[in-house]
């Protein structure tokens, strides 16, 4: 079945898999929980301390109101800024190297946005949506640098993933909300308020009743009330959006952090790498969802009715 050429590589794969599996088993037995199950002392090499989670970000410099999540956010802003600055300093018509890579990102984002929004509105949405995406993805990936959360100053960690601080997703959610409303007004003018306060059908029905056409008016009255109620619901849904934006990003990033911590506590070797890779993937997906939802709501806000 398997040619002679492939037999060697198959053997290598099997040996590697067995070795990794053995490492998983050994590290589980030697760790805190596993050694408790078989009733022996945990190995000092594998005895990771139990994960502690602090919901609020720590302040490494006690007097200054600077949290460690803010420092991480600055790092990712600086990294993004310098990447784009140095990548576009000597621009060439035929891009090479870093400029090529950056153009790839920008072009993919532009295609992603112009597909549902069209050329004109796409040009409005592009800066905000792309910035949100790049900021979240940078925050998520900066915190995956090995040893990132182990740097301590004054007994507090100096860095912590910026997305695990409730304030930063909340700030992004408020920015996204404000921009969506702004684009709505920019596209439709003052008549954008009709989305929220839709009294037109109700007035018409009342007019009909006052004129004397009771039968048509009564039917219209119900529709009018439904339209008013739907407008009020629209206000609610716009406001609740901010909450769901915030908790989606914050919850995903925090859950990822806790998951990796717990995995390192349970099985210190090999297995955490899988979850680590999954975290990199989820950071990308969450950033795409945040930017994509902003884009979707913005498209809904600027869309012409009928």
């Amino acid at each position: 079945m398997i040619g002679k050429k492939h037999r060697g590589s198959l053997l290598k794969i099997v040996v590697l898999a067995v070795a990794l599996f053995t490492m998983i088993i050994i590290s589980f037995i030697g760790s805190h929980v596993g050694s408790g199950i078989i009733g022996s002392e945990p190995l000092s090499l594998l005895n990771v301390e139990a994960p502690k989670y602090h919901p609020a970000p720590e302040r490494p410099f006690h007097q200054l109101p600077i949290t460690n999540t803010m420092i991480t956010a600055w790092i990712s802003i600086t990294a993004l800024g310098s990447l784009f600055f140095f990548g576009t300093r000597k621009m060439k018509l035929v891009p090479t190297g870093l400029q090529n890579f950056l153009e790839l990102i920008v072009e993919a984002a532009a295609n992603f946005i112009e597909d549902p929004a069209g050329k004109k509105h796409g040009a409005w949405f592009f800066p905000v949506c792309t910035t949100i995406f790049l900021f979240i993805v940078a925050n998520a990936w900066v915190s995956l640098i090995p040893g990132f959360e182990t740097v301590h100053i004054n007994g507090e960690p100096l860095f912590r993933s910026a997305n695990t601080d409730l304030n930063i997703p909340a700030a992004l959610a408020v920015i996204s909300f404000c921009y969506v409303e702004y684009w709505g007004f920019k596209a439709k003018g003052i008549s954008y308020l009709k989305t929220f306060f839709h009294f037109g059908p109700l007035w018409q029905a009342i007019k009909l009743i006052l004129v004397g056409n009771i039968k048509a008016g009564a039917g219209g009255l119900l529709n009018g009330f439904v339209a008013v109620f739907a407008g009020l619901l629209e206000i609610l849904s716009h406001l609740i959006r901010m909450v769901s934006f915030t908790f989606r990003l914050f919850g995903n990033m925090t859950a990822g952090m806790i998951l990796v911590m717990i995995m390192i506590f349970l099985v210190p070797w090999v297995l955490p790498s899988l979850f680590y890779g999954m975290e990199a993937f989820f950071g990308f997906i969450q950033a795409m969802i945040f930017a994509g939802l902003t884009l979707g709501f913005a498209c809904a806000a600027v869309m012409e009715e009928e």
């Binding site: 602090h54 919901p55 908790f247 989606r248 795409m288 969802i289």
Partner: protein
């Protein structure tokens, strides 16, 4: 803190994530089923199906994440 308060908190947190994970679990199952059906009908569209399935899964998963946030708040903050 009284013992019963701690007990109630832990039970509440466990129930929050346990019950909250039921719906998204079913939802992700249905999403996977839909994606497999689509893949069976049209194997060429593998890339598009994959992308949209992952997006849909992330949305369904967000609901479980809300429950997880409640559980975390119950244990660590409340």
């Amino acid at each position: 803190m009284e013992t019963w308060t701690i007990v109630a908190k832990l039970i509440g947190a466990g129930l929050a994530i346990g019950l909250g994970a039921i719906g998204p679990g079913v939802g992700i199952g249905i999403l996977g089923m839909g994606a497999m059906n689509a893949l069976g009908r049209n194997p060429e569209a593998r890339g598009a199906i994959m992308t949209n399935m992952i997006l849909g899964i992330a949305f369904a998963e967000a609901v479980a994440i809300y429950a997880l946030v409640i559980a975390i708040l119950l244990i660590f903050v409340a």
